[in-house]
C-alpha cells in the first residue's frame, strides 16, 4: 500500500513535468523560466490555502470555506493600517490577528454547536460564516481599486539569469517550511499527537480524555494564522479584492483534494504543480484564455484516479 502511494506520487510528478516540458517546448528558457517562477508563487498560495484547510479538517472534521474570507478581512485591515501611515509590521501583525480572531470566534463558539452534524453540513455552515465576513468586509471597504505592497517586492535575487522577487521566494519557501513544520509539530509534540488521535477517531479520543475543545481550538488557530498569511500574500501577489480572496478557497480546496484531504506533502506538490501548469498554459495559444481552469481539471483527474476500482462500500458508521 505504501509503495503504491509513492508510485502514485512519482507518476503524478512525471506527468506534470512532461506537461510543463510539452507546454514550454520550443520556447526560450528565459520565457519558460519566468512563467515557471510566477506559477510556483501562485501554486504556493494554493498550497498554503490547502494546508490550512487540511490541518483543520483532519483535527476537527470541518472543511472550512471561510478561510479565504478571514484572509480577506486580514488583508483589508492591513491595507487600512498602512493607509493610516502606521509602520508596516503593525499592519502585518494586524492582518494575522484579525484572521486569527475571526477564525477562532467561529471555531470556538459556532463550530462546537455543530460537532454532531454530518461533514457536509459542517462545511456548509462555514460558508455561512464566509458570507457574513465577506458582506461585512465589502460593506466596510467599498469597491475600489486597492493594492498592497510588501518590502520584499523590491528585493530580489537572480537565479539562472532570472530575477525572482522576494515575495515570490517568500511564499514558496514559506509553504515548504510550513509543511515541514506542521509535520514535525504533529509527530513530535503532545498536542500534535492528540490532533492525530482526533483525526483517527473522535469518540475514542474523547474517551481517552483528550481535551477535544483545546486541541480543536489550537487547530482553528493554526488555520486562522495560515489564512491570514495567505490572504496577505495573495493581496500582494495577485489582487486585493475581498471577493477574489474569499473565493480563492475554491482552488485551495482543489489543492487539498490532491492530498486526499490528509497528506500535506502531496498538497504541496499538487498546489505547486497546479500553479505552474496554470501559468504555463499562457504559452499555449488555444488554451490561454481558459488557463485558470487548470486546478479544477487536475483535481478532478486526481480524484478519479484515487477512486479507480473503488466500489460502493460502507464505513462503520453506516
Amino acid at each position: 500500500m505504501r509503495d503504491m502511494r509513492w508510485i502514485n506520487i512519482g507518476l503524478y510528478v512525471v506527468l506534470m513535468v512532461a506537461l510543463v516540458l510539452w507546454l514550454g517546448a520550443g520556447k526560450p528558457f528565459k520565457i519558460t523560466g519566468m512563467f515557471i517562477t510566477s506559477g510556483l508563487a501562485v501554486g504556493s498560495l494554493y498550497a498554503l490555502g490547502g494546508i490550512g484547510i487540511i490541518v483543520l479538517y483532519r483535527a476537527t472534521g470541518v472543511l472550512n470555506f471561510s478561510g479565504g474570507a478571514a484572509g480577506a478581512a486580514g488583508a483589508m485591515t492591513a491595507w487600512q493600517i498602512s493607509e493610516w501611515g502606521w509602520a508596516q509590521p503593525v499592519a502585518w501583525i494586524a492582518c494575522l490577528l484579525v484572521s486569527l480572531v475571526t477564525t477562532l470566534i467561529y471555531g470556538r463558539w459556532i463550530a462546537s454547536k455543530l460537532a454532531w452534524r454530518e461533514t457536509v453540513v459542517k462545511a456548509v455552515a462555514t460558508l455561512g460564516f464566509a458570507l457574513i465576513l465577506l458582506g461585512l468586509v465589502s460593506f466596510i471597504w467599498i469597491d475600489d481599486p486597492r493594492s498592497i505592497s510588501l518590502p520584499t517586492d523590491k528585493v530580489g535575487i537572480s537565479m539562472l539569469g532570472l530575477r525572482v522577487t522576494g515575495t515570490r521566494l517568500l511564499v514558496v519557501v514559506a509553504s515548504v517550511l510550513l509543511v515541514f513544520g506542521i509535520h514535525q509539530f504533529l509527530v513530535r509534540t503532545r498536542i500534535g499527537l492528540q490532533m492525530r488521535a482526533l483525526a483517527d477517531d473522535r469518540s475514542l479520543s474523547a474517551l481517552l480524555g483528550i481535551p477535544i475543545l483545546k486541541v480543536e481550538t489550537i487547530a482553528w488557530g493554526i488555520s486562522g494564522l495560515i489564512a491570514g498569511f495567505t490572504g496577505l500574500m495573495f493581496a500582494d501577489l495577485i489582487r486585493l479584492e475581498p471577493v477574489v480572496i474569499t473565493f480563492m478557497v475554491i482552488p485551495a480546496i482543489a489543492a487539498a483534494i490532491t492530498g486526499k484531504l490528509e497528506n500535506l506533502g502531496v498538497v504541496l506538490i499538487g498546489g505547486l504543480s497546479m500553479g505552474v501548469i496554470e501559468s504555463m498554459l499562457t504559452l499555449s495559444p488555444t488554451l490561454k484564455g481558459a488557463r485558470p481552469i487548470a486546478p479544477f481539471v487536475i483535481a478532478a483527474v486526481v480524484l478519479l484516479w484515487y477512486q479507480r476500482g473503488a466500489r460502493l462500500t460502507f464505513n462503520t458508521k453506516d
Binding site: L63, F65, I110, K113, L114, R117, E118, T119, V120, V121, A123, V124, A125, L127, G128, F129, A130, L131, I132, L133, L134, G135, L136, S138, F139, V243, F247, I250, P251, I253, A254, I257, G289, A290, P292, I293, P295, F296, V297, A299, A300, L303, L304, Q307, A310, R311, L312, F314, N315, D318
Partner: protein
C-alpha cells in the same frame, strides 16, 4: 397505488393555490423591471428545487447547480441561433443534454460519499465558470462558440408567450410542471428507493435497491431541472451573462436552499425570493447589497444550527401548531 400518487396533501393544495396566484394575478401587477426579476426568480426556484430535493432525499450535495444552469442556457442559445426550431424543442434538448452532462460529471463521484460529491461538483462549477467567462454565451455570431461583439441577433421566445408578462406566466407554468415531476418521482419507486438509501445504503443494497442507479437518477433529475431553468433564463432576456454563473453563485444557491428548507416546495420558493428578489428589493431601497450577504450568511448559520428544515420547515411547523391549537374544521 393510484390514489397515493394523486393524493393532494394540504401542502400540495397550498402549492396549487400559490402557483395559481403566481400564474394568474402576479404578472398583471408588475412593471418591466420586476417582471424580469420575478422571471429570473422563478427559474432559480426550479434550479433550487433540484439541489434541494437531492439534498433532502439523499443527503447528496451538488455545488454546481448554477453552473449546470449555464450549460442548459448555453445549449439553448446555441440551438436557437443554429436552427429554426421552436423554443420548446430547444428547451427540451437543452434540458436533456444538461442532464447527460450532469451525469458525466457526477457518475465517477456518485460512488464516493457525501463530501466528495460536493467537492467534485465544486471543481466542475469552478471549471464551468472559467469556460463561460472565456468563451461567453452565443449571441448569433459565427462558428462553434457563436459569439459576436457589439450587437446580438434576435432570440425566438415561445410562440404563446411573446410579451414579458406572458413569459413570466410561461415560466411559472413550466416550474410548476417541474415541481410535479419531482413530487411524482417521490411517490413512485424511485422515491421509495431514495428513502431507503437515505436511511442506510447498506440496507438498501441488501434489499436489492440499485444504489448507484437511483443516486444517478436523482442527480439526473437535478441536472434536468437545472437545464430547464437555464434555458428559461436564456429566454427571459434572450441573452446570458457569464457573471450569472460563477461558482460562488452555485455555492450560494445551495446554501440558500438549506436556508429556505430543502424538504418542501415552499423552501425552493423562499430560496428564489432570497436569491433574486431580496437583492432587487434592497437595490430599489438603496441599501448596500453587501447587507444581503450578511443576511444570507446569518440565515444559513441559523438554519444549520437551530432549524435543520429551514424557513420553510419553520412555517410548516407554525401551520401545524396553529392547526392543533385552534383545531381545524371541515375536510382535512
Amino acid at each position: 397505488m393510484r390514489r397515493s400518487l394523486f393524493h393532494v396533501t394540504p401542502s400540495g393544495a397550498s402549492g396549487f393555490v400559490f402557483a395559481g396566484v403566481c400564474f394568474l394575478i402576479l404578472p398583471s401587477f408588475l412593471g418591466s423591471y420586476w417582471l424580469s426579476v420575478f422571471t429570473s426568480a422563478a427559474c432559480f426556484a426550479l434550479a433550487a428545487f433540484g439541489v434541494a430535493f437531492m439534498y433532502a432525499r439523499l443527503g447528496m450535495v451538488s455545488l454546481a447547480q448554477v453552473g449546470l444552469m449555464g450549460v442548459g442556457g448555453w445549449i439553448h442559445l446555441r440551438l436557437n441561433y443554429l436552427f429554426e426550431w421552436p423554443f420548446e424543442v430547444n428547451l427540451v434538448i437543452a434540458a436533456l443534454a444538461t442532464m447527460v452532462f450532469g451525469w458525466l460529471l457526477a457518475l465517477p463521484a456518485l460512488r464516493m460519499r457525501g463530501l466528495y460529491l460536493a467537492l467534485v461538483t465544486l471543481m466542475a462549477a469552478g471549471g464551468l465558470e472559467i469556460l463561460f467567462a472565456t468563451y461567453q454565451f452565443p449571441n448569433g455570431g459565427e462558428g462553434f462558440w457563436g459569439v459576436k461583439t457589439g450587437s446580438f441577433s434576435p432570440f425566438r421566445g415561445p410562440v404563446i408567450a411573446q410579451s414579458a408578462e406572458s413569459y413570466l406566466r410561461y415560466v411559472v407554468a413550466v416550474c410548476f410542471l417541474g415541481f410535479l415531476i419531482v413530487e411524482a418521482h417521490r411517490r413512485l419507486a424511485p422515491g421509495r428507493a431514495w428513502a431507503m438509501i437515505r436511511r442506510s445504503e447498506a440496507a438498501a443494497m441488501a434489499v436489492g435497491v440499485n444504489v448507484t442507479l437511483y443516486k444517478t437518477w436523482a442527480f439526473g433529475i437535478a441536472g434536468l431541472l437545472a437545464g430547464i431553468a437555464g434555458g428559461l433564463l436564456a429566454g427571459s432576456l434572450g441573452l446570458l451573462d457569464d457573471g450569472t454563473f460563477r461558482s460562488s453563485e452555485s455555492v450560494l444557491l445551495f446554501a440558500l436552499a438549506v436556508v429556505g428548507g430543502a424538504r418542501f416546495w415552499l423552501g425552493a420558493v423562499i430560496t428564489a425570493v432570497l436569491y433574486r428578489i431580496l437583492p432587487a428589493l434592497l437595490n430599489t431601497w438603496g441599501v448596500d447589497p453587501d447587507i444581503a450577504y450578511m443576511i444570507f450568511g446569518a440565515g444559513l448559520l441559523h438554519a444549520v444550527i437551530t432549524a435543520p428544515d429551514g424557513i420553510g420547515g419553520q412555517l410548516y411547523g407554525l401551520a401545524a401548531l396553529m392547526r392543533t391549537k385552534f383545531g381545524t374544521r371541515g375536510v382535512k
